[in-house]
C-alpha cells in the first residue's frame, strides 16, 4: 500500500530539502512555487485549506529570489521555499480576516513580525489559511468562510483552530505553515492530520501582528511534515522582538541542532514522565483506545532508545479546562472590543437612521459568529464587577497551581524530576464534520491535553505516532520554559525510530491513498 511519491513532485519534498535544492540551483523558486500553486488549484476546491491565494504575487516573489540567486546574492537557506500563513497573521496588503466576517476585505498596512521575518528570509507566501473565527474552536468549523476538510478523510475535521494550515501541509498544498496556539490550536490539528506542530515557550516567538485571541496564551509556531522542518521554521520566526513587551530577551535554544541530535536515536538518560491526569491509568475516560494504544507503543519505542519512562501526577491539570475557559474568553472579550466598525472592517447599518451605539451593536451582531459571541459573553461576565474574583481571579490561581505542577514534575534539574512530560495530544482521532458543532463542551474537550502547557506558558510539541482506524494519532511532548529544544530532540528520536520501523513516513500512507484513488 505504500508508494513513494515521484521524486519529481516538488510538493512532496520537505522544506529543508527544498531549501537545499534551491541553494544548490537544482530547482528554481518559480518551479517550486508553481508546483504548489498547481496542487492548490487541483485540491483546494475540496479541502478549502486556503482563504486567500495570490499566485501572481507568489510567482513574482519566487522570480525575484531566482533573479537574486542568479545575480550571485547571498541568500538564506529558506530563500525561495514557499510557506502558508494562518489568516490570524497580519500581512501587509494581503487580506487578513482571522476567519471572521467582521474583517472581510481588510488589507492591513503592516506585517506581523513573524511574517516580516519569513519575508526577510526570502520565503514565498503562498496564501493565508482557514481557521476557526478568531482562533476560537477545535475543528475549523467556526470559520465564517466555510469548513476545511481533513486530507486523510474529507468527511472529517482537520482540527483547529489552525485547521487550514494543517490541511494545507498534510495535503501537500504547502511544505510547511505557521499556526497559532492558544489552548492547543497548533498541536491538536497537527495531531489530527499526521503533522509535527510545536507551541513555543510563551514569549519566544513575537506576537506582534497576530490578531489577539487571548494575549497571555497566544503563541505562533510551526506546522510541518518533519520535526527538523518544524525546528527550522521555528528558528526562522523566533527570538526577541522589541515590539512585543512579553517577548523574552537573550539567547534562545538551538532547535534544528536538537532535532538532528534526536534523529540520531540515542535517548540514554532522558527521563520521560507520563502525565497520569492526561490519559494515564484511571484517567482514560473519553480517550479512544486506539489513541492510548499508539501512545503506549510510542513510549515503548522511546524506552527502546534508552529513555527512562515513569508516571507523574499533575493533579491541577484536571482544572485546566475550567481555568482556560475563563481566562481565554475574558481576555478575548477585551481584545475583540476594537472590532466596532469605526476604523476598519465591516460596518453595518450606518445609513443615517441609527446612532453610534446601534451601528456598533449591529456591526458586531452581524460580524461575529456564534462561538465568538458565546466567548465574548462568557468573558464579559467573568470580568464583571462582583464576579471578577470568583471567576477570573480563581482561574489565575489555578494557572499558578498548574505552573507549580510542571515545576515539581521537572524538578530542579538535579535529577529529581523528569526532562519532559508526555501525553496524547488529543483524546480522539479526527471526528466527523458536524459531530460536535452543537455541543460546545464536547468540542472544548478536544483541548484537554494541550491546555496545561498553554496555561503554564511552557513549550509542547505534537509528533505523529501512528494511526488509529486509519487516522493519525499525535504524541505530545512537554518541556520546561525555554527548553523547546528538548521537545524537538525527543520528537525527532521518536519520528526517526517509527519511520525506520515502518519503512516509510506516516504521511506517505496518505499520499498512497491519493495515488490509489481518493481517501480510504
Amino acid at each position: 500500500m505504500t508508494t513513494t511519491p515521484a521524486a519529481t513532485d516538488l510538493t512532496h519534498l520537505d522544506a529543508a530539502e527544498l531549501g537545499r535544492l534551491l541553494g544548490a540551483g537544482e530547482v528554481s523558486a518559480v518551479d517550486v512555487t508553481r508546483a504548489h500553486l498547481d496542487r492548490i488549484a487541483a485540491d483546494d476546491g475540496l479541502l478549502h485549506a486556503y482563504l486567500h491565494v495570490d499566485g501572481e504575487t507568489a510567482l513574482a516573489t519566487a522570480a525575484a529570489v531566482d533573479a537574486a540567486r542568479a545575480a550571485g546574492d547571498e541568500l538564506g537557506p529558506l530563500a525561495g521555499v514557499p510557506v502558508a500563513l494562518k489568516d490570524v497573521v497580519v500581512t501587509e496588503g494581503v487580506p487578513t480576516t482571522s476567519g471572521s466576517r467582521i474583517l472581510e476585505g481588510w488589507r492591513p498596512p503592516y506585517d506581523a513580525t513573524v511574517a516580516a521575518r519569513l519575508k526577510a528570509a526570502g520565503t514565498v507566501l503562498l496564501g493565508k489559511t482557514n481557521m476557526d473565527e478568531f482562533a476560537m474552536g477545535s475543528s475549523t468549523e467556526n470559520s465564517a468562510y466555510g469548513v476545511t476538510r481533513n486530507p486523510w478523510d474529507p468527511e472529517r475535521i482537520p482540527g483547529g483552530s489552525s485547521g487550514g494550515s494543517s490541511a494545507a501541509v498534510a495535503g501537500h498544498l504547502a511544505p510547511w505553515a505557521l499556526g497559532t496556539d492558544t489552548g492547543g490550536s497548533i498541536r491538536q490539528p497537527a495531531a489530527l492530520t499526521g503533522l509535527v506542530g510545536h507551541k513555543p515557550t510563551y514569549g519566544s516567538v513575537s506576537r506582534y501582528g497576530l490578531i489577539a485571541f487571548s494575549s497571555s496564551l497566544d503563541q505562533a509556531g510551526p506546522m510541518a511534515r518533519t520535526v527538523l522542518d518544524a525546528a527550522v521554521l521555528h528558528e526562522a520566526i523566533g527570538g526577541h522582538d522589541p515590539r512585543d513587551s512579553t517577548s523574552i530577551p537573550g539567547q534562545h535554544p538551538l532547535l534544528a541542532e536538537a532535532a538532528r541530535l534526536g534523529a540520531g536515536g540515542d535517548l540514554t538518560g532522558v527521563r520521560i514522565g507520563v502525565v497520569r491526569e492526561l490519559g494515564g491509568e484511571g484517567h482514560a475516560e473519553g480517550y479512544e483506545p486506539g489513541v492510548l494504544a499508539r501512545v503506549a507503543e510510542a513510549l515503548a519505542v522511546l524506552e527502546g532508545l534508552g529513555a527512562e519512562v515513569r508516571e507523574v501526577s499533575c493533579p491541577s491539570f484536571d482544572l485546566a479546562l475550567a481555568a482556560y475557559y475563563l481566562i481565554a474568553p475574558s481576555e478575548a472579550s477585551s481584545n475583540l472590543s476594537r472590532f466596532d466598525g469605526v476604523r476598519f472592517g465591516l460596518r453595518v447599518g450606518d445609513d443615517g437612521s441609527r446612532d453610534l451605539d446601534e451601528v456598533m451593536a449591529l456591526t458586531r451582531e452581524q460580524g461575529f459568529g456564534a462561538e465568538v459571541k458565546r466567548r465574548i459573553i462568557l468573558g464579559t461576565y467573568a470580568l464583571s464587577s462582583g464576579y471578577y474574583e470568583a471567576y477570573y481571579g480563581q482561574a489565575q490561581k489555578v494557572r499558578t497551581l498548574i505552573g507549580r505542577d510542571f515545576a515539581s514534575a521537572f524538578g530542579s534539574g538535579d535529577g529529581d524530576g523528569v526532562d519532559v512530560l508526555v501525553s496524547p495530544t488529543t483524546p480522539t482521532v479526527a471526528f466527523p464534520l458536524g459531530a460536535r458543532v452543537d455541543d460546545p463542551i464536547a468540542m472544548y474537550a478536544a483541548d484537554l491535553c494541550t491546555l496545561p502547557a498553554s496555561l503554564a506558558g511552557t513549550p509542547a510539541i505534537s509528533v505523529p505516532c501512528g494511526l488509529s482506524d486509519g487516522l493519525p494519532v499525535g504524541f505530545q511532548i512537554m518541556a520546561p520554559t525555554l527548553a523547546d529544544d528538548r521537545c524537538y530532540r525527543v520528537a525527532a528520536a521518536l519520528e526517526a525510530a517509527q519511520d525506520a520501523a515502518r519503512g516509510h513516513r506516516l504521511l506517505d500512507e496518505l499520499a498512497a491513498r491519493r495515488t490509489t484513488g481518493g481517501p480510504a
Binding site: V89, V90, T96, S98, L103, W106, P108, P109, Y110, A112, R207, Y208, G209, L210, I211, A212, S214, S215, S216, P242, R243, D244, S245, T246, S330, E331, S333, S334, L336, S337, R338, F339, D340, V342, R343, F344, L356, D357, M360, T380, L383, S384, S385, Y388, Y392
Partner: protein
C-alpha cells in the same frame, strides 16, 4: 454658546455657615514626552488630524503596546514631588468601554496597582496651610478627539456626523487623584484653585509637561459634595468636567456648593452625576447620567509586563529632583527679605518667575519687583496681555534698572525707554543712545539753562539768599522744564546752590 441655567442658588456665606463642603480633584496631565505612551508616534500638538498615528495607537488588529520609559520616569518624578510612595511592582490594566475615541475598545490605564500612592501637597490660602492628601498618581494613555459636525452644541447629540482625530490617542497621561479634602469650609473653592495652581507649578518645575490648561495638557475634574455641619457621612458628590482654567476651578466649586445647598434645603437628594462647567456663566449643567453605570471590567493588561521600578533608580530620581516651588518661595522670601504678603502679591501677579530672572540678571530684588509689579503690570493690564507675554525680557528690565542706578537715566526717562523697548526698538541701552534719552551732564547746555533760570528770576534768587532755601525748588523746576526733563534734578540743584547760595557764603 450661552448657557442659561434654571438652578436655584443660595448665598455662599449662608451655605458655608450651615454646610461643610468636601472637594476632590482628579487632574490629568499630558506628559511632554517626544513619543506616545505605547508607540513611537510624535506627540507634537496641532498637527494635521490623523497624521501622527501608527498601527499601535490606531488599535489595529495584531498591534501591541510597548511602554515608554520616559513617561514612567516622569510619573515617578511627579509622585516623588508629591511625597508619594513609589510602588516596587505594579501593572497596567485595561479599562473596557466602547467609544470611537478609544481605538482598542479599552483604555490602557492603571487600576488597583498605581505607580505612586499616598502622598500629599500643602497649599497656602490666606496664610493658612491646607494639606491635600494624594491618593494615587498613575499612568495611562490619552484618547483621541471627537469632532461632532453639524448640530448646535458641538456635542454628539444632534450632530450630522462625527470625525475622530487619533493624533492625541496614546499620548501619555498622568492622573493625579486626591483624597476627599474636608475642613476647608468657606475656603474650599480657593483651596481647590490653590491645589491646581501649586500642582501646575510643580509639574512645570519638573519640566515633564507644559501644563497648558487652554490646550488641554492639564485637565481637571472637580468633585464637590456638601453635608450639614457636624454630619458623620459625606454628601453625594457631583463630578464637574470641562474646568479649563484656574479661575474655573474655584468658580465651579463655589457654584456647586450653592446649587447643592438649595436642593438639600428643599429636601431634594443630590444625584451622583457628571456635570459640565460653563465658562461664560460660571454655572454647571448635567452631563452624561451615571444611572447606567459602566462596568469597566478592569483586568491586568496581559500585553505589558509588570513595572518594577528599582529602588536605587527611584532614589536617584528623588535626589535629582529640581528645587520645588514651595522650597523656592521660602528661599526667596529669605533672600529677598520679603513678607509673606509681598510674596503672595508676586504669586498672584504671576510675576515670581520673571522677577527671579530679573534678579538673576543683576537687578536688586526691590527694583525687579518694583518694575514688574508697577510699570510693567500696569502696561500688561492696559494691553490685556499676561505679564510674561510682554515683549520685554527680564534681562532687559535688569539692564534698565542698571541704567537708573548709574544715573544715566532718571525715573521719567526710564519710563520713556520702557515704551520704546516695548515698541520693539531694541534693548534699553540701544534706545537711550538712539533716542538721546540720557540724563544731561554738566554740559554747556545745562550751565546755560541754569544761568538763564537765575537771570530770569531775581526775586527768587533774593529769597534764597535771604535764607528761604526751599524757594530754590522753583528754579530747579524751571531748569527741568527747559531741558524737557532730561536733566538730573539733584545735579541741577547742586549747580543752582553753587551759583546762588555759594556766592553769599
Amino acid at each position: 454658546m450661552t448657557t442659561t441655567t434654571g438652578d436655584r442658588l443660595l448665598d455662599f456665606d449662608d451655605v458655608v455657615s450651615r454646610y461643610e463642603p468636601v472637594i476632590g480633584l482628579e487632574t490629568h496631565v499630558e506628559l511632554g514626552t517626544v513619543t506616545k505612551m505605547f508607540c513611537g508616534c510624535s506627540t507634537t500638538f496641532g498637527a494635521e488630524p490623523n497624521t501622527q498615528t501608527c498601527p499601535v495607537c490606531l488599535g489595529l488588529p495584531g498591534s501591541l503596546p510597548v511602554a515608554n520609559a520616559a513617561a514612567i520616569e516622569a510619573t515617578v518624578q511627579i509622585g516623588l514631588a508629591l511625597n508619594c510612595r513609589i510602588a516596587s511592582w505594579c501593572r497596567f490594566a485595561r479599562k473596557n468601554y466602547f467609544y470611537p475615541d478609544i481605538p482598542k475598545g479599552f483604555q490602557t490605564s492603571q487600576y488597583d496597582e498605581p505607580l505612586c500612592v499616598s502622598g500629599y501637597l500643602d497649599v497656602v490660602v490666606d496664610g493658612e496651610t491646607h494639606r491635600v492628601e494624594i491618593e494615587r498618581v498613575h499612568l495611562e494613555e490619552d484618547t483621541g478627539k471627537n469632532l461632532h459636525v453639524g448640530g448646535s452644541t458641538g456635542r454628539i447629540h444632534g450632530a450630522d456626523h462625527s470625525l475622530v482625530d487619533y493624533n492625541r490617542a496614546g499620548i501619555p497621561l498622568v492622573e493625579i487623584v486626591t483624597r476627599p479634602v474636608s475642613g476647608a469650609g468657606a475656603k474650599a473653592p480657593e483651596v481647590a484653585k490653590a491645589y491646581v495652581t501649586e500642582l501646575r507649578e510643580i509639574i512645570q518645575a519638573l519640566g515633564v509637561s507644559d501644563v497648558r490648561m487652554e490646550q488641554g495638557s492639564l485637565r481637571c475634574d472637580v468633585n464637590t459634595s456638601i453635608a450639614p455641619v457636624g454630619a458623620l457621612e459625606m454628601g453625594t458628590r457631583t463630578e464637574t468636567k470641562n474646568v479649563n482654567s484656574l479661575r474655573s476651578v474655584e468658580r465651579s466649586v463655589r457654584y456647586e456648593i450653592r446649587r447643592q445647598a438649595a436642593l438639600l434645603d428643599e429636601g431634594v437628594r443630590i444625584r451622583q452625576e457628571t456635570r459640565h462647567f460653563h465658562e461664560d456663566t460660571g454655572s454647571t449643567s448635567p452631563g452624561r447620567s451615571k444611572e447606567e453605570a459602566t462596568d469597566y471590567r478592569y483586568f491586568p493588561e496581559p500585553d505589558l509586563v509588570p513595572l518594577a521600578p528599582d529602588a536605587a533608580w527611584v532614589e536617584s530620581l528623588r535626589l535629582a529632583l529640581p528645587e520645588l516651588p514651595a522650597a523656592r518661595r521660602a528661599r526667596l522670601i529669605q533672600e529677598w527679605g520679603l513678607s509673606d504678603t509681598e510674596m503672595t502679591w508676586l504669586l498672584n501677579a504671576g510675576a515670581l518667575g520673571v522677577v527671579a530672572e530679573t534678579v538673576a540678571a543683576g537687578a536688586s530684588p526691590a527694583e525687579a519687583r518694583k518694575w514688574w509689579l508697577g510699570e510693567l503690570a500696569r502696561r500688561a493690564n492696559e494691553s490685556g496681555t499676561e505679564l510674561t507675554d510682554l515683549p520685554i525680557t527680564p534681562a532687559q528690565v535688569a539692564e534698565l534698572s542698571g541704567l537708573v542706578a548709574e544715573g544715566r537715566v532718571n525715573d521719567k526717562l526710564a519710563r520713556q525707554v520702557l515704551d520704546h523697548v516695548l515698541a520693539g526698538e531694541g534693548g534699553p541701552t540701544e534706545v537711550v543712545e538712539a533716542r538721546g534719552l540720557a540724563v544731561l551732564g554738566e554740559s554747556d547746555e545745562l550751565v546755560a539753562a541754569v544761568e538763564a533760570a537765575i537771570a530770569g528770576a531775581p526775586d527768587v534768587v533774593a529769597k534764597v539768599r535771604a535764607g528761604k532755601v526751599q524757594a530754590l525748588g522753583a528754579l530747579v523746576g524751571q531748569v527741568m522744564k527747559t531741558t524737557k526733563g532730561q536733566a538730573d534734578a539733584a545735579t541741577v540743584r547742586r549747580m543752582l546752590e553753587e551759583r546762588v547760595v555759594g556766592q553769599t557764603g
